[in-house]
């Protein structure tokens, strides 16, 4: 089995991204429930932030594919 260490690295990155996206989603839901009329702005901001976090996770995954 090759690439085991790389898989652990990717797993760690996914844990980080999961925590980040969970926080973003949770806070966005909170914000929408506090101010429902701003839900459109909050939602697009939420997607943008989730996409940024996902980008960091994707880079970790790419690196762990190539450096194994």
């Amino acid at each position: 089995m090759t690439g085991t260490l790389a898989a652990i690295g990717a797993g760690l990155a996914v844990i980080g991204a999961g925590y980040g996206i969970g926080t973003v989603g949770g806070k966005a839901m909170e914000a929408i429930s506090r101010q429902p009329e701003a839900s459109g702005d909050i939602r697009s901001g939420m997607i943008l932030m989730a996409a940024f976090i996902e980008g960091a996770a994707l880079i970790a995954i790419l690196l762990s594919i190539f450096i194994q």
Partner: protein
């Protein structure tokens, strides 16, 4: 919504990291499938001319399969099937009926142009050809070229089935493919790729410039978009006072959404019109291709799930942002104002990397999400064959009962993902443009 992106990413990650395990298991199968004596038995008599040292330099230990064994009873391999179906191809199989595409191939022998019908691909035959043309053969939908002396390199020649073997190149085990001709395996090579061997490619003995399935799909989806928008635009011209209806209403909703939720908030009211056409083209091109790939039985086109296509989109964004970046943008990258001097070079390195990482993530996100969706659907459909292998006909029925709702569910999610990913690509592009053109008031 973000959960969908994330779950798709998770599936993609899981599948990516099961690659080493899968490929190892696959190789073991191949080892058991052929006897090692065939290697020695093959280099004799009339075939003296093509010993293995002739076509692969360096240290290697190759296992050449024999051609006499039966190759029909391969067990169903879900990973290989999924990868085959999301890959680009030189042939378009609609419900297993192959539609030939043009081939433009360049090798040392010159440029060859012909239709891929020359490979004589039968329907229901996994896109494997039955005839070679000028030394080119078709295996699993891709063109290969024979790279071993003795094979007739001119004109159309009927050949036997394909086999696989392995060889050691610089300490790494690599899969090598062979085509059988007169019961002798001949080594075949895939097209040249410019990844330098990182993804398993490298410089081989021919270049492939053919318009593949993905290229044709891009043209088709552009054509569909052109007629959709021309129809809508005509309505505005002939009857501007009337409220939008039908197709026009649908397109107007999306255009207004991109303007009000993406372009104006991120780029600003004064400058957004300069970039609005680009953002709209980007959004509808990606959305069109995403949805085009979701149409069942249409050859599972995976154009936006292909890294090269998303790479081109990302490079266009990189050029656009760099060209339109104002002095403030570049100053904030290379000499960040307002921080201590000793931090400035550090930030310059990080921000300089950021210039390239931003388009890189754009490229990976789109390709990863769309490919992940396709792989998930193909895996669920594969359940039918896995159960069928295990329990026979009853198993196939069981698999069908499990796979149908799962596949339908995944396809429904994929339609959401198609919209979300097109939106995310557009909104991120808008935010990069916005950051590059923003006026700072220090």
């Amino acid at each position: 919504m973000s959960r969908n992106i994330y779950s798709a990413l998770l599936i993609f990650t899981a599948i990516l990291f099961s690659f080493p395990a899968i490929s190892q298991g696959h190789n073991h199968d191949d080892h058991s499938g052929h006897d090692h004596d065939s290697h020695a038995g093959h280099d004799h008599g009339a075939h003296e001319g093509h010993d293995h040292a002739a076509h692969a330099g360096g240290d290697h230990d190759s296992h050449t399969p024999n051609c006499s064994g039966d190759h029909g009873d391969h067990k169903y391999d879900p990973a290989a099937t999924a990868i085959h179906h999301i890959s680009d191809a030189n042939i378009w199989s609609i419900m297993e009926f192959p539609i030939p595409l043009p081939m433009i191939l360049k090798s040392d022998a010159g440029i060859d142009m012909f239709m891929s019908s020359k490979f004589h691909v039968a329907s229901m035959h996994h896109e494997d050809g039955h005839a070679s043309y000028n030394g080119y053969v078709m295996h699993e939908g891709s063109a290969y070229r024979v790279n071993q002396a003795g094979f007739p390199m001119d004109g159309s020649v009927d050949h036997g089935p394909f086999t696989h073997g392995t060889e050691m190149v610089d300490g790494k085990e690599r899969d090598v493919k062979f085509v059988c001709y007169n019961n002798t395996p001949y080594r075949i090579e895939q097209r040249t790729t410019l990844d330098g061997g990182v993804l398993g490619g490298g410089i081989t003995n021919f270049w492939d410039f053919s318009p593949t399935k993905n290229v044709i799909a891009m043209f088709l989806s552009c054509l569909i978009l052109f007629f959709l928008f021309r129809g809508a635009a005509k309505k505005y011209k002939t009857n501007p006072e009337k409220a939008p209806s039908g197709l026009q209403g649908m397109l107007e909703t999306m255009v207004v959404f991109i303007r009000d939720e993406v372009a104006i908030p991120f780029i600003g009211k004064e400058k957004y019109m300069k970039f609005f056409p680009f953002l709209l083209s980007l959004f509808f091109f990606i959305l069109g291709l995403n949805l085009f790939g979701q149409i069942p039985l249409l050859g599972s086109v995976n154009a936006t799930g292909n890294l090269t296509i998303t790479a081109v989109l990302a490079i266009i964004v990189l050029i656009l942002v760099s060209v339109n970046g104002n002095l403030d943008y570049w100053k904030h990258i290379f000499w960040m104002p307002g921080v201590p001097t000793f931090v400035k070079p550090l930030l310059a390195v990080v921000e300089g990397m950021g210039i390239f990482i931003k388009p890189l993530t754009l490229m990976l996100r789109l390709a990863g999400n769309i490919s992940a969706g396709h792989i998930a659907i193909l895996s669920f459909i594969g359940l039918i064959f896995i159960f069928g292998d295990l329990f026979g006909g009853i198993g196939s029925g069981m698999g069908l009962a499990v796979a149908t709702p799962l596949t339908l569910f995944m396809m429904a999610i994929e339609i959401i993902v198609a919209f979300v990913q097109a939106f995310v690509f557009t909104i991120l592009t808008a935010s990069y443009i916005g950051a590059a053109t923003e006026e700072h008031h220090h």
